[in-house]
């Protein structure tokens, strides 16, 4: 038999938490993006687990859409990072206060 779904979901929870922790404590914008990818992967893992558990194809279709959205997000996000770096030599998240009132 296969592994119980609880283990997959617990792993997904832990993976999501590590990603969220990375977004909160890192200051490099690129690393924060990678941590967002970690969180998306945790959600993907949970989706696939639920799809198997409920015998439902919808979870797998959602993973498909999450992949597309992640690709679009990375393209636009990295474009923004490149545009910021063109103006400033270093762009940690703390330095981005140009629009502060």
């Amino acid at each position: 038999m296969t592994i119980n779904a609880d283990w997959y979901l617990a792993l997904s929870v832990v993976l999501f938490s590590i990603g969220a922790l990375g977004v909160l404590i890192r200051r490099n914008v690129l690393v924060m993006f990678m941590c967002v990818e970690l969180m998306l992967n945790a959600a993907n893992l949970a989706f696939v687990t639920f799809a198997r558990q409920l015998n439902d194809i919808g979870g797998q279709v959602l993973v498909f859409f999450v992949l597309v959205v992640a690709a679009a997000e990375v393209v636009v996000g990295l474009g923004i990072v490149v545009a910021i770096f063109r103006r400033r030599a270093n762009a940690t998240a703390d330095d981005l206060h140009a629009m502060k009132g």
Partner: protein
């Protein structure tokens, strides 16, 4: 490759019923995933973070295979490890930010302990919630069966092109918008030579966003961009060689 691995795994698990194969694969994959995720967070060099991310993505792909989902595992490896991480590495190398970050510096006092505490609290709460209640609830196979005599790719494709046709078309629009946005963002700002220094612009420069035009567009005199009139952003964007 992944599909072959899936076929081998399926054959192993269905014929012999050795649960230790599943347990072993899951344990090793989980260890790889968690080690990679922690590596992404704690690595000081962004390149190391990206490589650790690849490790995590491969572990997740193995778990997809383990859950009888070989197509998404292949897509995961191709799209994530093959495209997105390469994009990350490309930007890291392109910007030359592959230097160490000073992790010890903490500009917001007390942010890190607060973040760690919140995350640990939330994780513990979720895990306990899964223990005292049930992890999986809901009606089974609402959108269609995920197993059957047809292959996984067939079921997924049929569902995408029938039930989820409108979201599928919406993602097409989303990708187009993302491409257009990336092109607009990556465009170099037009280099305009300001004949008279504007006092308003000079005041704006004191805020701290001193745009150095030399690395921005100095080395690449593109004719079509240079010929444009003053940008729409006005005084905020262009400090120029005043």
């Amino acid at each position: 490759m992944v599909t072959t691995l899936g076929v081998v795994l399926t054959a192993l698990t269905t014929t012999v019923h050795p649960s230790w194969v599943d347990v072993g694969t899951f344990s090793v994959s989980a260890a790889i995933i968690l080690a990679g995720a922690i590596g992404v967070v704690v690595a000081r060099n962004p390149v190391h973070s990206a490589l650790m991310l690849v490790m995590t993505l491969f572990g997740v792909a193995v778990l997809f295979v383990l859950q009888r989902d070989p197509f998404l595992a292949a897509v995961q490896v191709i799209v994530y490890a093959g495209a997105i991480v390469v994009l990350f590495l490309f930007v890291i190398m392109f910007l030359g930010v592959d230097r160490e970050e000073d992790v010890a510096l903490e500009p917001l006092r007390g942010q890190r302990p607060l973040a760690i505490g919140l995350v640990v609290l939330g994780t513990t709460g979720l895990l306990l919630l899964g223990q005292v209640s049930r992890w999986t609830t809901g009606a089974p196979h609402v959108a269609g069966l995920s197993t059957g005599p047809e292959s996984n790719v067939y079921l997924l494709g049929r569902s995408v092109y029938t039930t989820y046709l409108f979201p599928f078309e919406a993602t097409a629009a989303l990708l187009i918008i993302a491409v257009v946005g990336a092109v607009v963002l990556a465009r170099r700002p037009p280099v305009t030579v300001n004949p008279d220094p504007d006092p308003d612009t000079g005041a704006d420069a004191g805020v701290g966003t001193v745009a150095d035009p030399a690395p921005a567009g100095g080395g690449d005199p593109v004719g079509e961009l240079g010929g444009q009139p003053a940008p729409a952003a006005g005084g905020m964007a262009e400090e120029g060689p005043a």
